[in-house]
């Protein structure tokens, strides 16, 4: 049966067919839907872990325990889990072990554009790169076999256009894969120096064997057409090249991007007049070819930045013109993403902006607090950095600066890696104020449960980490819970806590407006009391805008009746209607 499937859903299907038993991940665009789809299969244990390192370790443990296991993450999540990854390369596996990493060229939803293929080479772990949903399914299924055959973890590398494109997939049955025996093997699984020294030899030998495998593996395919142009490529770039050049070029499509073959590439290069390497982001395939002494054209004509397109490839290789198009003759306003109507974060940023504080930000929907008119976030680096970087700022600039400084971090991000920064504040005598934006869900990635929500990935009730108790337990004496829509009270609390010469936490508690359990009634409308003071417009609510005459309008298709604008209007000029 053929089915239209998202690349991510196809990866989940492949893992299911391979008989995977344990999947542990932390959400991250564009990888999230893999694990969300895993939940559809009752045979598989699935979890949202607190962060990617924990997730990888759960998967590693399951593999050592004899089960086929998988962990899925976005590219920056791979940085978080790099520590166990480099060492599990040494231990190898028991049950097949697969790490799915999704890169985001073009940064649709990310803070950087790193190329995760570097990790394969650095950690000496085989990496496969599918080019459509069917390959997502097949490569994932086969990755488990490869993992067990070569006693190695295997990476599946995806990119946004693979993860978030739907194409047709032939659905198969789940293989009956037995749990492998667990046997104590200190030399293999206890990575202390004496053992690791021996395992490193095994790793180098494995890479040699995998390189031989790459020479003849069906993951790497040659397609001979016209021989004037030869293309070496992988993943989505193959699809772009194929659309751009069709049968006017020959192709070496590398489905296995680490380790790379030598003879296969040499043979292909000899059969064609000119070789082009087409790969988004870094010149990994290109550098490999050049190291072999093969003359290729790559980043001389293709950019290191963003996503490619077929038109770009056509123009670079054939010099052909882009199709005729009707260009805009004026500059039009951009439409950046914004906090949704009813977003609980809006109240927080309104207050922080009003007080003119320096805001150490983090990763989540609330990164959008950097965009005007709220424009209050000063920094965003990575998950958890809001807390620890604020400590660094305070240590650098002293007490008075610290009184104008806060960290903002979501509930899920706090669980991920904010708590360690908070412990640092307590331990090293910081006086920072940390605001936990507790919206009862992992928001940006599309509503995943986390340790603070009280539900598992399958929606089963579980113990709920109590943020207030947790903060107190690590030594924060001043922990206040406040509703960010109660603007006056929230402002008062922020002033008090930032002026305190002791560390403090404010838990800004109000659920995400998109949660099914949140049901604001009616919508807001502007009455004749409006003095056009535009206080409501400082909220940056997408439902509120200005008419040509300066009066205010509220778009009923967008307003969800949250009523925050009523709380900031000084003239009582906004009322609620059914």
């Amino acid at each position: 049966m053929k089915k239209l499937m998202l690349g991510n859903a196809a990866v989940a299907q492949g893992a299911y067919e391979a008989g995977v038993r344990v999947v542990a991940s932390y959400p991250g665009t564009p990888s999230t839907e893999i694990t969300e789809n895993i939940v559809k299969y009752d045979e598989i244990y699935a979890e949202w872990s607190p962060n990617e390192k924990v997730a990888a370790e759960v998967a590693i443990g399951a593999s050592i325990g004899g089960a086929r296991a998988m962990s899925c993450m976005k590219h920056v999540g791979l940085n978080v889990m790099a520590d166990p990854v480099f060492t599990v390369s040494y231990t190898g596996v028991n049950g097949g072990l697969v790490f799915c990493v999704a890169d985001d060229p073009g940064m649709h939803s990310s803070q950087n554009e790193q190329d995760s293929r570097h990790y394969a080479k650095a950690s000496k772990i085989a990496m496969l790169e599918p080019a459509n949903s069917q390959e997502c399914k097949e490569y994932t299924r086969l990755a488990f076999d490869l993992s067990e055959e070569f006693d190695t973890p295997v990476f599946i590398r995806l990119s946004t256009r693979i993860s978030h494109s739907q194409s047709l997939v032939e659905i198969g049955e789940r293989a009956d894969v037995e749990l492998k025996e667990y046997e104590k093997n200190v030399g293999k699984y206890v990575m202390m120096p004496a053992n690791a020294v021996k395992r490193h030899v095994v790793v180098e030998d494995r890479i040699k064997k995998l390189t031989e495998f790459a020479e003849t593996s069906s993951f790497n395919t040659v397609e001979m057409n016209d021989t004037k142009i030869g293309i070496i490529t992988s993943g989505i770039s193959y699809m772009y090249a194929k659309e751009a050049l069709g049968d006017n070029a020959s192709y070496l499509k590398l489905g296995m991007v680490y380790p790379l073959p030598e003879k296969l590439i040499r043979d292909f290069a000899e059969k064609v007049d000119k070789v082009y390497v087409i790969e988004e982001l870094d010149p990994i395939l290109e550098d490999h070819c050049k190291a072999l002494g093969i003359e290729v054209i790559g980043k001389d004509i293709f950019t290191l930045l963003g996503e490619y397109t077929p038109t770009m490839i056509k123009s670079a290789i054939l010099g052909s013109k882009a199709p005729e198009s009707c260009e805009l003759t004026e500059t039009i306003p951009a439409r950046p993403p914004v906090l949704c109507p009813g977003c609980p974060h809006r109240g927080v940023f309104y207050v922080l902006k009003k007080l003119g504080l320096v805001v150490s930000g983090d990763i989540g929907c609330y990164t959008l607090g950097a965009i005007p008119p709220l424009a209050s976030v000063d920094t965003t680096i990575c998950m958890g950095a809001s807390v620890s970087a604020a400590l660094g700022m305070a240590k650098a600039r002293g007490t008075e600066f610290n009184k104008k400084l806060v960290s903002v971090i979501g509930d899920s991000t706090f669980m991920h890696s904010g708590i360690t920064g908070l412990i640092d504040i307590v331990y090293n005598k910081g006086n920072n104020t940390v605001i936990i934006l507790d919206n009862s869900i992992t928001g940006m990635t599309g509503h995943q449960d986390n340790p603070t929500t009280g539900y598992t990935i399958r929606g089963e009730e579980t113990k709920q980490v109590n943020l207030l108790t947790l903060c107190k337990a690590v030594g924060i004496e001043h922990v206040t819970v406040a509703d960010p829509f109660d603007i006056k009270n929230f402002e008062k609390i922020v002033k008090e806590e930032t002026n305190r010469e002791e560390p403090s936490v404010i838990i800004a508690q109000r659920p995400c407006a998109l949660l099914k359990t949140v049901n604001y009634k009616g919508h807001c409308t502007v009455t004749e009391n409006c003095k056009k003071c535009k206080m409501c417009m400082k909220l940056g609510c997408p439902a509120i805008s200005e008419n040509a005459d300066g009066s205010i309008k509220i778009d009923l298709t967008q307003c969800n009746g949250c009523g925050l604008c009523m709380n900031v209007c000084p003239f009582d000029a906004i009322k609620k209607e059914d």
């Binding site: 053929k2 239209l4 998202l6 665009t29 564009p30 999230t32 839907e33 649709h108 939803s109 459509n132 256009r161 978030h164 494109s165 739907q166 194409s167 047709l168 989505i236 699809m239 772009y240 194929k242 659309e243 996503e307 397109t309 077929p310 038109t311 882009a322 199709p323 005729e324 198009s325 009707c326 260009e327 805009l328 004026e330 039009i332 306003p333 951009a334 439409r335 950046p336 993403p337 914004v338 906090l339 949704c340 929907c365 990164t367 959008l368 965009i371 005007p372 008119p373 940006m444 990635t445 599309g446 417009m537 940056g540 997408p542 509120i544 805008s545 200005e546 778009d555 298709t557 967008q558």
Partner: protein, 188 residues
């Protein structure tokens, strides 16, 4: 020959559902199909673009400038932004709804004037007040299905095939509203 359809709008308008209805309808016709979606941060009220391509064999999931056979725009400014992607002789279907983006709300820029005239001057444009039709069908959120209805009329896929997909894609409790919305668009 690959048919290229682009769906553009504002995050939250339901473009994703529209692209899935379209994608599932064309596979039932036996075509190869690719649908490229946008998830994550860009979905939060920003410009969203979905590509649907179908034909004998589809390689790239994306559509370049000057290539789209049809652009289905859920909002005026987004239609204008997507204009360069329409191929010569392509068809632009536009919902006349206007939603101010944040730079307009903050006063940093103005919403462009007379977009409809500027589009009509150069292109084959169908303007639809899909919001009113969706309200007439029973829920303003059915704008996406109204527009799918309008578009369906300009493809060679039979009416019944669309109805079949809507029945399998839309939650049962919203089915009647969505069928009505589709019909209002189709019979425009």
């Amino acid at each position: 020959m690959t048919k290229k359809i682009m769906i553009v709008g504002v995050g939250g308008q339901g473009t994703l559902l529209a692209s899935r209805i379209l994608g599932n309808t064309v596979i039932n016709e036996g075509y190869d199909v690719k649908v490229s979606e946008v998830h994550g941060m860009s979905q939060r009220g920003g410009s969203v673009v979905t590509y649907v391509k179908y034909g004998d064999e589809v390689y790239s999931p994306i559509i370049d400038k000057g290539e789209a056979d049809i652009i289905l725009a859920f909002e005026m400014l987004e239609a204008y932004r997507a204009m360069p992607f329409l191929k010569k002789g392509g068809k632009l279907i536009v919902n006349t709804q206007e939603i101010d983006p944040m730079p307009v709300i903050t006063g940093a820029m103005d919403y462009p004037e007379n977009i409809a005239d500027k589009l009509k001057e150069k292109l084959d444009v169908t303007l639809v007040d899909a919001l009113s039709l969706a309200e007439k069908a029973g829920n303003f959120k059915a704008v996406n299905v109204v527009l799918i209805g309008v578009m369906a009329k300009s493809t060679d896929i039979a009416y019944e095939k669309w109805i079949e997909t809507i029945k399998t894609t839309v939650p049962p409790k919203f089915l009647d509203i969505n069928l009505e919305a589709f019909n209002l668009g189709y019979n425009l």
